[in-house]
C-alpha cells in the first residue's frame, strides 16, 4: 500500500501481461478500479503489404492458445476476398477444427487455470493454487484436465499436422481432406472425452453452493450479451447471424450480419491500457457495454442442438429468470460448451461426406474488401481486410473477444474490489478474488492487444491524490 492506491501487478494464471489499480476515496473505500493491459504488438500494422493469402498463417501467430480461431476468421475473410463458396466438406472440416479448438482451450481455462480456485478455494495460498495443488487434492480431476485438453489438441494435430500454429485452413477451404484413419481415431476417443465432460460438469455443479458470495459479486450486473447463432437461434461457433440480448434476456438486436459489424460495434481507446473497449454503438459508450464468450453464447442461444448439451442448457437457463448475469457462470457455460463440442464433433465425423476429397475452391481475388467472423473460445472474433488490385493487404482491423469484454472486466474488478477490499492493505483472499474474476473471462491479452509474454499480475491501491498506497506483484 502506498498512499491510497492498491496495485496488483502482474495478474497470474491468465494469458498475457496486465495490472490492476484500485482507487480509494477519502474514507478508504474502493471508488474505482482499472484493469490495465500493459503489452502491445500491433498485428494489424505488421500485416500491411503482405499478400492476402498469407493472412491465415500470419494471423494464427497472434496466439498459441487459439490459433485455430484466428485461422478460421482470417480464412473466412479471405474467402470473401475470393468471393467463393467453399466446398461443403471443407465447411464441415473447418467446423471440426474449431470445435476441437474450443474444447482444448476451454479445458485449459477450466482445469489448468481456474480449477485451483474452485478446488482449493479463493483463500488458498497462491503458492499452492496451481496444477500441483490440484494434483495433490484431486488427482483424478488433474488427469481429466490433461486428457480432455489432449483430446482437442490431438484432433488439431490430426487435421492440421501440428498442435500449435497449424496452417491447414486456407483461403477457399482446407489444404488436405480428412483421412479415414484419422476420422476413426477421433471417433474412437469421443466416449472417453464425453465421460470426462459429463463428470466434470457434475463436479462443478456440486461445488457451486460453496461460491454463493462469489456468484453474487463476480461480475454480477446487467449488461447486454452478444454471440453468433444459427438461423434457428441455436449455438454455433462457425457462422450465422449475430444476436444481442439484454440483461432481462429480451432480444435487443437479431439477424445482424456479422460482416457489417462496424455499423453496430464501436471501439474506444483508454489512455491507461493497450486494450480497446468495444461497445454497442446504438447505446453509446459506456452504456453499450456487452459481454461475449461462453456466458453470452448461452444467453443468446435458445438451444444447442445436441441432446446432452440441450439438457444442460435448459438447466443453465433456470439459474436466473433473466439472462444469467454473474460472470462466475462463465465456468459453467464453458463446461456445457465442451459437452456440446464433443457431441457435435461426433455428428460431423459421422457425416457421409466428411471424407470427400473436394475440400478447396480456387480463385483469384474478386473483391477488395472482406470480413470473416466466428466464435472463438473467448467470444466473437472479427477479421476485416482491405487489399489492392495486386492482392496486397492495405488495411486490417481485428476485433477480439477480450476487447469486447473489457468494459465488463473492469466493472467486474470494481465490483469484487468494493465487496472484498477493506482498508488500505491488500490481503490474500482479496487478491485471489480480484484475479479470479478476471480468470472467469479467460482473457487472452496476446490476442487482444496482439502481444507476447508471460502471465503476470500487478495490483495497485491508489489514493485520491494518485499516491500508490500498496502494490502486489506476482509472476
Amino acid at each position: 500500500m502506498k498512499g491510497n492506491t492498491i496495485v496488483i501487478d502482474p495478474v497470474t494464471r491468465i494469458e498475457g501481461h496486465s495490472k490492476i489499480t484500485l482507487h480509494l476515496n477519502d474514507d478508504g473505500r474502493v471508488e474505482d478500479a482499472r484493469f490495465h493491459v500493459t503489452q502491445f504488438r500491433g498485428f494489424e500494422k505488421l500485416a500491411e503489404g503482405r499478400p492476402f493469402y498469407e493472412m491465415p498463417s500470419l494471423m494464427a501467430r497472434i496466439c498459441g492458445i487459439c490459433p485455430v480461431s484466428h485461422l478460421i476468421a482470417s480464412a473466412k475473410a479471405c474467402d470473401s476476398l475470393l468471393a467463393v463458396k467453399i466446398p461443403p466438406t471443407a465447411d464441415k472440416l473447418r467446423r471440426i477444427f474449431g470445435l476441437a479448438q474450443v474444447t482444448q482451450s476451454h479445458a485449459l481455462s477450466l482445469f489448468h487455470l481456474s480449477s485451483p480456485d474452485l478446488l482449493l478455494g479463493m483463500d488458498a495460498d497462491p503458492a499452492k493454487s496451481n496444477i500441483f495443488g490440484v494434483a495433490e487434492k484431486n488427482p483424478a480431476l488433474a488427469l481429466d484436465g490433461i486428457r480432455l485438453r489432449q483430446f482437442g489438441q490431438k484432433i488439431i494435430e490430426q487435421l492440421g499436422g501440428k498442435r500449435i500454429h497449424p496452417a491447414w485452413i486456407v483461403p477457399g477451404g482446407v489444404s488436405e481432406p480428412l483421412t479415414e484413419a484419422n476420422r476413426d481415431a477421433i471417433l474412437w476417443a469421443i466416449p472417453d472425452a464425453l465421460a470426462i465432460a459429463e463428470r466434470t460438469l457434475e463436479w462443478f455443479k456440486s461445488t457451486m453452493e460453496g461460491f454463493r458470495e462469489e456468484i453474487s459479486t463476480f461480475g454480477n450486473f446487467p449488461t447486454m450479451f452478444m454471440g453468433i447463432v444459427k438461423k434457428d437461434n441455436g449455438l454455433t461457433f462457425y457462422d450465422g447471424k449475430l444476436r444481442i440480448v439484454d440483461a432481462s434476456g429480451h432480444v435487443v438486436a437479431d439477424d445482424l450480419d456479422p460482416t457489417q459489424y462496424f455499423d453496430y460495434i464501436g471501439e474506444k481507446v483508454e489512455p491507461w491500457s493497450y486494450l480497446k473497449s468495444s461497445y454497442y454503438k446504438p447505446k453509446g459508450f459506456p452504456d453499450g457495454i456487452y459481454r461475449v464468450g461462453p456466458l453470452a453464447r448461452l444467453n443468446v442461444a435458445d438451444r444447442c442442438g445436441t441432446p446432452r448439451a440441450d439438457q444442460e442448457l435448459a438447466e443453465f437457463h433456470e439459474l436466473q429468470r433473466t439472462a444469467v448475469l454473474s460472470s462466475f457462470h462463465y465456468h459453467h457455460a464453458r463446461l456445457i460448451e465442451i459437452l456440446y463440442c464433443i457431441e457435435r464433433l461426433e455428428q460431423l465425423l459421422n457425416d457421409p461426406e466428411i471424407l470427400s476429397k473436394h475440400v478447396r475452391a480456387v480463385a483469384r481475388p474478386n473483391a477488395l474488401e472482406g470480413v470473416g467472423a466466428a466464435e472463438a473460445p473467448r467470444g466473437t472474433l472479427f477479421h476485416h481486410y482491405k487489399i489492392d488490385e495486386q492482392g496486397l493487404i492495405r488495411w486490417v482491423n481485428l476485433i477480439i473477444a477480450t476487447g469486447q469484454n473489457n468494459l465488463a472486466m473492469n466493472r467486474s474488478v470494481l465490483q469484487v474490489a468494493k465487496h472484498f477490499v477493506q482498508g488500505k492493505r491488500l490481503n490474500l483472499g482479496m487478491l485471489n478474488r480480484v484475479e479470479a474474476v478476471i480468470r472467469c473471462y479467460d482473457p487472452c491479452l496476446s490476442c487482444s492487444t496482439h502481444a507476447s509474454g508471460q502471465m503476470d499480475l500487478q495490483i495497485q491501491l491508489v489514493s485520491p491524490s494518485g499516491e500508490i498506497l500498496d502494490e502486489v506483484v506476482r509472476s
Partner: protein
C-alpha cells in the same frame, strides 16, 4: 512407447531460442522409433506428463539465456527415478521440465530418469538463424545428447 523421450523446445523464430529444435531435426532418423521418440515443441504443456510417464528416460533440450559462454552445453541430471525433481514451478501456460517430471511422477506414478541439456544462447532477437557460436556448438550438443541416449538405452535394456 519409446524407452527414451527427447523433448526439444523453444521458439525457432527467436534465433538461438530455436537451437534445441534444430538439434531435434539433426537427431531425427538416428535412432529406432521404438527406442527413442523425439518431440519438438514451442513450449512445455501438462499434456507432456503422460508421454514422459511412459518413458524410462526423458531428456529435455533447451536454449539457456544464462551467464555461460555462447554455445556452452550443460547437462544436468534432474531425476534418477527415486523422486521428484526439486522446485517445480506453478503452472501458467508453460511448464518447466521439472514440473513435467513432477506431474508424471505424481499423476502417473512414473519412475523415470530425467536430464536437462541446455545450450547457452547469445541472440534471442527475432529471426530464424542461430548465432555463429551456437551454430558451431551444435555438433557438441548432439554429441552430449547422443551419449545420454546411449546411457539411457543401456540402462533400459538391462532393466
Amino acid at each position: 512407447m519409446a524407452r527414451v523421450l527427447v523433448v526439444a523446445y523453444g521458439n525457432p523464430l527467436r534465433c538461438d531460442d530455436g537451437a534445441a529444435r534444430r538439434a531435434a531435426e539433426m537427431l531425427e532418423g538416428k535412432f529406432l522409433p521404438d527406442e527413442v521418440e523425439i518431440v519438438s515443441l514451442h513450449q512445455l504443456g501438462p499434456e507432456l506428463a503422460e508421454s514422459a510417464s511412459q518413458a524410462q528416460c526423458v531428456i529435455f533440450i533447451d536454449a539457456a539465456a544464462g551467464d555461460g559462454q555462447p554455445g556452452q552445453v550443460q547437462v544436468t541430471r534432474m531425476s534418477d527415478g527415486s523422486g521428484e525433481p526439486a522446485d517445480p514451478r506453478p503452472f501458467c501456460h508453460a511448464l518447466a521440465p521439472a514440473s513435467i517430471v513432477g506431474l508424471a511422477i505424481r499423476l502417473y506414478g512414473a519412475h523415470l530418469q530425467a536430464f536437462s541439456v541446455t545450450i547457452t544462447g547469445q541472440n534471442f532477437d527475432h529471426g530464424e538463424s542461430l548465432s555463429p557460436a551456437v551454430e558451431a556448438a551444435l555438433p557438441t550438443l548432439i554429441e552430449h545428447i547422443d551419449e545420454l541416449i546411449q546411457e539411457c538405452l543401456s540402462k533400459a535394456r538391462k532393466s
